[in-house]
């Protein structure tokens, strides 16, 4: 580790040296967070749309819970998944604790409420606008759902990016269920926490800058793709 006090220098030398350990950590971070976002979207988009379209008893409670879970502290999410996956827990026999899969599950729990709740908002507004026309076309709620999700795709992409932001930024959940095992479950945020606790503040901040750059890169890519498509369509 280079002995210097400058976080930018630390970040730069980390990137330029293409440190294989760092590359492994970055790759695992992206794999875990992107997988969590994918699973979260596959469940959260239809779930959010369903909550927007159907009025059923207990819907208010479901929406309130969903909104509350948007603020779920990552540590609590991690603890819940830990107790679930622990050998002494209900899913202990799967042996998933301290694996990347456990981290994906924990981050999915963090991301899903955000995606579902924000999807409900967007689809609800769009449904309000479309309802009479679709009703006139004799399209029921079930058949309307794919079209609504499609027509809201630009807004929903932002929703998914918000989920990715939460997943890639959190440390509490992955630390508990992953264990921050060197080379196995160590991701950017847990590595940052570790370096901080070792007093390597410059290196920790350097890793933080790398993380920031990665998140910016993912967001920027999505933005460029979205803008290009929007311009072509508009």
């Amino acid at each position: 580790m280079p002995e210097n006090d400058n976080a930018f220098q630390a970040a730069l030398s980390l990137i330029l040296s293409l440190d294989p350990v760092l590359l492994g950590i970055v790759t695992l971070s992206l794999q875990v967070s992107l997988s969590a976002v994918l699973v979260g979207a596959l469940i959260g988009l239809p779930l959010g749309a369903a909550l927007a379209l159907w009025h059923f008893p207990g819907r208010g409670l479901a929406v309130t819970l969903l909104n509350a879970f948007m603020g779920l502290p990552p540590v609590v999410a991690g603890l819940m998944i830990y107790l679930l996956l622990s050998r002494a827990g209900p899913l202990g026999s799967l042996g998933l604790l301290f694996t990347p899969t456990a981290m994906i599950i924990a981050q999915t729990l963090l991301v899903l409420p955000i995606i579902a709740a924000l999807t409900r908002d967007h689809i609800g507004a769009l449904w309000e606008e479309y309802r009479e026309q679709l009703h006139s076309l004799r399209i029921g709620r079930v058949r309307a759902m794919p079209g609504l999700l499609w027509d809201a795709r630009f807004a929903l992409m932002t929703v998914i990016l918000a989920g990715f932001g939460r997943a890639s930024a959190e440390v509490g959940a992955v630390l508990i269920v992953g264990g921050n095992i060197d080379g196995v479950t160590r991701v950017m945020t847990t590595a940052i926490a570790l370096e901080t606790s070792k007093g390597n503040l410059a290196l920790a901040l350097g890793l933080g800058l790398v993380l920031l750059g990665l998140v910016a890169l993912v967001n920027g890519t999505a933005y460029v793709i979205g803008e290009r498509a929007r311009r072509r369509l508009g």
């Binding site: 492994g24 060197d182 570790l194 070792k198 007093g199 390597n200 979205g226």
Partner: protein, 269 residues
Amino acid sequence: MKRSPTLPVIGLIGLGLVATAKASDDHIVLASTTSTENSGLFGAILPTFTEATGIQVRVVAVGTGQAFEIARRGDADSLLVHDRAGEDQFVAEGYATERADVMYNDFVIVGPGDDPAAVGEAEAIDDALQRIATAEAPFASRGDDSGTHRAELRLWQAADITPQGAWYRELGSGMGPTLNTAAAMDAYAMSDRATWAAFDNRQNLELLFEGDDALFNPYGSLLLSAERHPHIKHDLADQWHRWLLSDEGQQAIADFEINGEQLFFPNAE
């Protein structure tokens, strides 16, 4: 229909699903303390073990209290901690079948260089703690039920002091964060020597007191009970346990140094 941005985005996310790296199945999960991990001890000795046996050791470094809990729930295959009383109780409860001395290091008292409580002049650890309490100089305690925290509480008790008041700050943090905080508020703190040696963000902190026999900090390896948790990799964990106690393992521990200073002293019988 024009190409939409959704497909590339899904593709991007799909990258994340690429099967997460599967290392060899010959691995054990070792629950241990932050002091051993943060000092770099495991980074130094594990490759030797893996080379000799082909077994990968996955270290989950947490406070001793949490390490016990992880092992108690059956989430670790092996345990290496430093809390003699807790270890003996763990064996007594039947969670472990065997406990063995592996190594020791010692605790040190660190504090601001100008040493307002004159801890540097203390004769013994109870004298040192007495001076801090009398001066009501800020003291940063781990407060996290870790091995170090438990040792610290025993030392206060031995010095016949009940640490309380605004000067005694329980942080509820690991060793590293506690040292970071102590450095930031010019407080005294008790650290294991290894974490202190590897700690970079010292600012005004200096090592002020060391060497009392009461600061002895022994580490024990526990062989977990296969009866309690049949699923754990008992055979592999047994190999690890035996290796730590072997000449080879003991030599690897003795060879680990930071800045030319040996931090852990093997003491297996």
